[in-house]
């Protein structure tokens, strides 16, 4: 499904990583590891199509992602390490907009269930600027239960989450893999996922 071919990345003429080859099929998870500055976020942004690699191609169902951007993005979710949230809008408005922007139709019940699952159901009509850092991350993740897109790219999603939210997210990821989804994730913490489904990519500084 997702294939990285000889991905090379440079920043200001300094090579970050070179010749990365990965093949992921449905139901597999790629855990990108590496120290600070090893290029985890850069690789994830390249996979998302936000930045171009110095060299190499990314294929989605055998098709270069640059050829049909909209089809690829209709099948892909990217969450950067800073939760993309509008501070002036309420929790529900933020969730509704994120889902609509992905072209996902979710009714009020569904959104309410998602917010309950992630532990934000009592904050539903509160402006997002009143949330703590961990709650903002939760809000960004609250779209996951309704997000049926195949490929999830998650950049440090466990940051500033408490243990309850961490196990909730782990369940969401496992469920997604069971439903034949693909997850690419960067994190420093060990992933509690069936080792048969897990691939690890170690980037060195």
């Amino acid at each position: 499904m997702l294939e990285l071919r000889k991905i090379t990345c440079q920043k200001n003429e300094i090579p970050i990583f070179e010749g990365i080859n990965v093949k992921l099929s449905a139901g597999e998870c790629l855990h990108i590891k590496g120290g600070n500055g090893s290029g985890k976020t850069s690789l994830l942004r390249i996979i998302a199509g936000l930045s171009d690699p110095e060299d190499g191609t990314i294929l989605w169902t055998g098709e270069n992602i640059k050829h049909d951007r909209e089809t690829y993005h209709a099948n892909m979710l990217y969450l950067g390490h800073q939760p993309p949230i509008k501070e002036n809008l309420t929790v529900l408005e933020n969730l509704s907009f994120m889902l609509a922007l992905a072209g996902i139709n979710a009714d009020y019940e569904q959104k309410n269930r998602a917010l309950k699952k992630i532990g934000l159901s009592d904050k539903i009509s509160i402006p997002a600027h009143m949330l703590s850092a961990g709650q903002k991350t939760r809000l960004a993740l609250s779209r996951l239960p309704s997000d049926n897109r195949k490929l999830w790219l998650l950049d440090e999603p466990f940051n500033s989450l408490d243990s309850v939210a961490i196990s909730c997210l782990e369940t969401l990821i496992s469920d997604h893999l069971t439903n034949n989804g693909i997850v690419v994730i960067t994190t420093h913490q060990p992933l509690k996922i069936d080792p048969g489904k897990l691939k690890v990519l170690e980037l060195s500084v």
Binding site: L50, S51, E70, H73, G80, K86, S96, F97, A102
Partner: protein, 224 residues
């Protein structure tokens, strides 16, 4: 996948966010009225002279106010990272950009146009002159917002972007200013405003066709 759902969601979000920034809209309106009034005061009560500079004075005031409003267009989305999600939406980015620019015009330039008839009276303009001034503003200010969007996109993420925008788009504003004020002036001096209005409309059409695409490309480069 229906892109209209996405476009509608963005339109509604932009309107909501603009309503949260009502104070900015009022500030802009006040700024516009203030510059126009300073023009009027500085004419030292010469009613004839005041009337003859009215179209130009109001056009320049509107241009300054619109320029002042451009800073918000992309920087807010850039700071809170929601712009990345726009770039990744399964809809043409140029359409999303067009929506953002339209709401920007609706919440910055359009209120100024609504205030213009009152300022026109203050300058001693007649109904016909005010009419052609309003038409020229309705056709010309969207072009100003569109051109400003290019400046805002190209300077996104740079330090001191507001002054950079101004330097960048200032020369590009001149054609619109010339045709806009000459349409209003033509009526004042008893000529037909049609020619200038047609030119304004032509500029606007070219802008609507080309600029959202250019802005989309420069946003992708700025976010890389």
């Amino acid at each position: 996948m229906n892109p209209w759902v996405i476009l509608k969601a963005l339109f509604l979000r932009e309107i909501k966010l603009a309503l949260h920034r009502r104070a900015n809209i009022l500030t802009l309106g006040y700024f516009y009225i203030m510059i126009a009034t300073l023009f009027a005061v500085s004419m030292n009560g010469d009613a004839k002279a005041l009337q003859s500079i009215a179209p130009s004075a109001l056009w320049v005031s509107a241009l300054f106010a619109i320029m002042l409003s451009l800073n918000h267009l992309f920087t807010d989305d850039f700071t809170d990272k929601t712009i990345e999600q726009l770039l990744l939406a399964p809809a043409p980015l140029s359409m999303l950009v067009a929506i953002k620019i339209f709401v920007q015009w609706l919440t910055s330039a359009f209120p100024l146009i609504l205030a213009t008839p009152f300022l026109g009276i203050q300058f001693g303009m007649g109904a016909a002159e005010i009419g052609s001034l309003l038409t020229s503003l309705l056709l010309g200010t969207p072009t100003l917002t569109l051109i400003g969007a290019i400046g805002a996109a190209l300077t996104l993420g740079t330090k001191g972007s507001s002054i950079l925008i101004a330097v960048l788009i200032f020369p590009l504003y001149i054609p619109t200013l010339i045709f806009g004020s000459s349409a209003a002036n033509a009526t004042l001096f008893g000529h037909s405003a049609e020619e200038a209005l047609v030119m304004l409309a032509a500029l606007l059409i070219i802008g609507i066709i080309t600029i959202p695409y250019a802005v989309a490309v420069s946003l992708r480069i700025a976010l890389e």
